[in-house]
Amino acid sequence: MPLRGRLVGLSCALACAAVFALPAPAGAHPFGDPQTVAIAADPARPEVVRVRWKVGGLDDLTVLGVALGLLPQDRVLLDGAVFYEDSDAKAIGPSPAFADYLLKQVTVSSDGQACAGRVTAPDDLAGGGASIDYTCPAAVEVATVAVRTLTDLNPAYHTLATGPGGARAVYTSDAYSHDWTLGAVDAGSGRGAALQLGAVVAGLLVVAAAAVALRRRVAA
């Protein structure tokens, strides 16, 4: 076997080794739920807007607890890694600092007038999130809800929001305020998505069919 061939083989093997031996990126975020808020009317009280906030990855809860001074600073390791523990949610949930944080970062107004919020002490902050009732001066038709939770810690955080009638929106550090029509009936929110996804899948099938047909013609 010629020397050149062996060198090629050796370089292939080295390249393989380099690809397989790449270390895991330290900053990689584990796969977790995104942060969410659900906005709803209170059927019994037309002047109330209910907002349920739920953290995304549970380690975000730990990061928030450290930022609020409810958990010790050393819970964030030197390399920035954070590991959630069940006791974290219990330490954060009932604390006034957390309630103040929610009321500061999530605000509701109706007809230009601010609504006063009250946080219900959460039973299961990690699993069920925290609920805030905002009482507005008058019955609410359209509520302007601003959400800035966690974006104060890192502007890259997003919040996926659902509202009455299947309405959806995404809160970002730039787009932190959205209007919600409380009496909205379900306008078939899934229909638009189904149509768009169906169009893409149909397009793919057409491309695949064309490729198969072309191959057959070439082979014939």
Partner: protein, 239 residues
């Protein structure tokens, strides 16, 4: 700002830009380079079964197809069926990793069985691999694409919430294409390396032995690796 963050920004930005697709491709390739996705397994498989360029393409394609399907199914269930009320995404990931590990163990055992069968029936080594290679490769590819990438999942779910589901799915498809290209490249490297070794084996007894042992070593390696993946996932699930 990471590529994943830029991709997130792209789905928020108005219009459908070529830049967004470029970012999705780079993010997919970058994701495939990180550990996992059965790269070393697939390389072992291709070496052990004397794969060809076409097999490397099948491998890349199956990872991409499975990943796109996985992101789509989980993204839709999360958005419209309140999947997160049933199971946390982190737990779902671990279950998927467990399933992927079991698929890999199954492929390894199947390889063992095939190897012993081909010996028992006295077949020569040169032709019997051609048709039996693909199922194992597709299963390995599927196990590599079973766990969705956080970035691709977030793009699809954000697209669903913004009413841009079609654009988001296209981005996830391009993300999968980026993964496929990297895995195809890894497969080519493995095939190139093993071809050089096989050619050398004509003159060196030691290399010849290594080439003969390769299928068995690959089967053993894949089974052990799969058992490792399964164990890690099981430990994380019970922890």
């Amino acid at each position: 700002m990471t590529v994943a963050d830029q991709l997130q920004a792209a789905i928020h930005a108005p219009g459908v830009t070529p830049l967004a697709f470029g970012l999705a491709f780079v993010a997919g390739a970058g994701h495939a380079v990180t550990p996992g996705h059965g790269k070393s397994l697939a390389a072992a498989y291709l070496v052990g079964s004397r794969g060809r360029v076409r097999d490397a393409a099948w491998l890349g394609g199956s990872v991409a197809a499975m990943h796109t399907l996985s992101v789509l199914v989980i993204g839709l269930a999360w958005t419209f069926l309140s999947l997160s009320d049933l199971i946390r995404m982190q737990d779902l990931t671990r279950w998927l990793e467990l399933a992927a590990g079991l698929l890999v163990v199954g492929t390894g055992l199947w390889l063992f069985r095939r190897h012993s069968h081909s010996h028992a029936s006295g077949h020569s080594h040169d032709h019997h691999h051609d048709h039996g290679r693909r199922p194992g490769l597709l299963v390995l590819g599927a196990s590599g694409g079973l766990t969705p990438s956080p970035a691709a999942f977030l793009v699809l779910v954000t697209g669903l919430f913004l009413g841009r589901a079609g654009f988001a799915l296209l981005l996830v498809l391009v993300f999968g294409a980026g993964m496929a290209v990297v895995l195809f490249g890894v497969g080519l490297l493995a095939i190139g390396g093993s071809t050089v070794v096989t050619r050398g084996a004509r003159t060196h007894a030691a290399l010849r032995l290594a080439t003969r042992a390769a299928p068995l070593l690959a089967a053993a390696g894949i089974t052990l690796f799969g058992a490792g993946l399964t164990t890690v996932a099981a430990i994380q699930l019970t922890a």
